[in-house]
Symmetry: C2
Subunit: 250 residues, 2 copies
DNA sequence: GGAATAGTGTCTGTCAGACAATATGAG
DNA sequence: CTCATATTGTCTGACAGACACTATTCC
């Protein structure tokens, strides 16, 4: 039996029935707080609970494309603004019983977006919104999405250390202070302005100057800040490390 | 319609037909060279090509359990020795067309194992073997497994930097030189013995002394080395960084 | 004895973090 | 003018990497 013949005889239904979905942990920063895109489910299971945007992967699309499509549908963004969104695979979640309907393996993705307009609820959701991640504790999350979100947040914090992806939370041009704000928001504690400034400029390819400055100083005074855009580095070297986290080591 | 009723009416076959497999990039060190567990396929598609060990995820097991099961089947290891094997999820690969039979999403895993006996070929494979990763170039790899292996190797190199997982390539007790050998093998270049020694001992929780030493010195002379076992750290702090890789940054 | 290895000591350049200083612009 | 902020400078301790040295053991 050669390959052609084998394929002709192949019966897909002979294998365990599994469905594959793509879910997206989409993060943005609004008013100095980290926000997460969630949809309120309109249908069982978990009707009324908040859940990650996502859905079944379509036959003709790869996983990343599926995640990007789901995110675009939920945010209502056009191609242009979607292009500034960073998207990467986070991990797959496939415990039996994580979905009561059937065996569903979810391929979770992580997205970093600049401040975006309020989302539009898709057909299968009652509502969609950017919610502050610090206030998720009292919300009922569907499936194992609380765990996926936790792992997404930790991945995001780690990624800021050794990649220039913090710039993806900002518009194309930004000041060093705005960039510092991203780090402070995602990491959850203040950074020393002077040291941060010097460090960012010393990492090759992190940011490049536009030559321009802001139109005005800060709301409460201060000189106009120079504007920068993202550089061409894919990795930060040396990395911008978070202060030691003794509790996470053991 | 409540949740119960909804679930009773739910029709799994209404969703796109996808199969989910787990594949394993299993690494070990033999004779100072990094080796990878591969099986030679006995059936189409890609009959005769080398492939990662793996298979369909079973209805009652989660993804990590499936990967562990596939690895145990292929290596013939018992529970005891499997317990010393590190296994983590690497990523999912689901491009349409990556498998000519049907839409298959593969959840790849990465495993670190101490030197293990030669594998036994499972039923669906003509042969199974630990092959040196440096000599994979001239072998035909099935599906997109070459890419998965590349990403597994890069993940392995990165993991040695900030986790103590290098110890998983060794037996329970090891010398600092053996540990250095793991780093040199995985990273592919020599390290300074003295500096490595001091660094390893200075990282809290990386290794702990057993109080014992080796029975004899090295084959070509030298004093007996102290023996260590893995410590309780989950992360290395400060990390053991690879020398700067200028080419990987941009 | 000769050679290789384990383990320790020392020095230097780099860098992170603390702190200080200066300059600019909002109110 | 007063204050907050942007940006640059200085200092100190930690650490990585280069190099050197001693002790131990194999052949």
């Amino acid at each position: 039996m050669d390959e052609q013949e084998f394929l002709a005889r192949y019966d897909p239904s002979a294998y365990p029935a599994v469905a594959v979905t793509v879910d997206v942990v989409a993060l943005t920063i609004r008013e100095g707080a980290l926000h997460l895109l969630l949809v309120q489910r309109g249908q069982p299971p978990y009707a009324g609970h908040w859940a990650l945007p996502g859905g079944f992967v379509q036959p003709d699309e790869d996983l990343a494309t599926g995640a990007r499509r789901e995110l675009a549908e939920e945010t209502g963004l056009g191609d242009e603004r979607m292009r500034r969104v960073h998207l990467e695979q986070l991990g797959s979640y496939g415990d039996p019983g994580r979905d009561p309907r059937m065996r569903i393996v979810s391929v979770a993705h992580l997205a970093f977006a600049p401040d975006l307009p309020d989302p539009v609820a898709a057909s299968d959701a009652a509502e969609a919104a950017w919610l502050p991640v610090d206030a998720l504790g009292n919300r009922q999350l569907a499936f194992d999405h609380a765990r996926i979100i936790d792992e997404g947040l930790e991945r995001a914090r780690a990624k800021l250390e050794y990649t220039p992806l913090a710039t993806r939370f900002l518009d194309a041009e930004f000041t060093i202070s705005e960039l510092r704000g991203v780090y402070e928001t995602v990491w959850g504690h203040p950074l020393h302005a002077g040291n941060f400034h010097r460090k960012v400029l010393s990492v090759p390819g992190f940011v490049e100057s536009t030559g321009a400055t802001t139109e005005r100083g800060g709301v409460r005074g201060g000189p106009r800040a120079k504007l920068y855009r993202a550089g061409d580095a894919r990795l930060l070297h040396p990395a911008l490390l978070r202060p030691a986290r003794e509790e996470e080591i053991r």
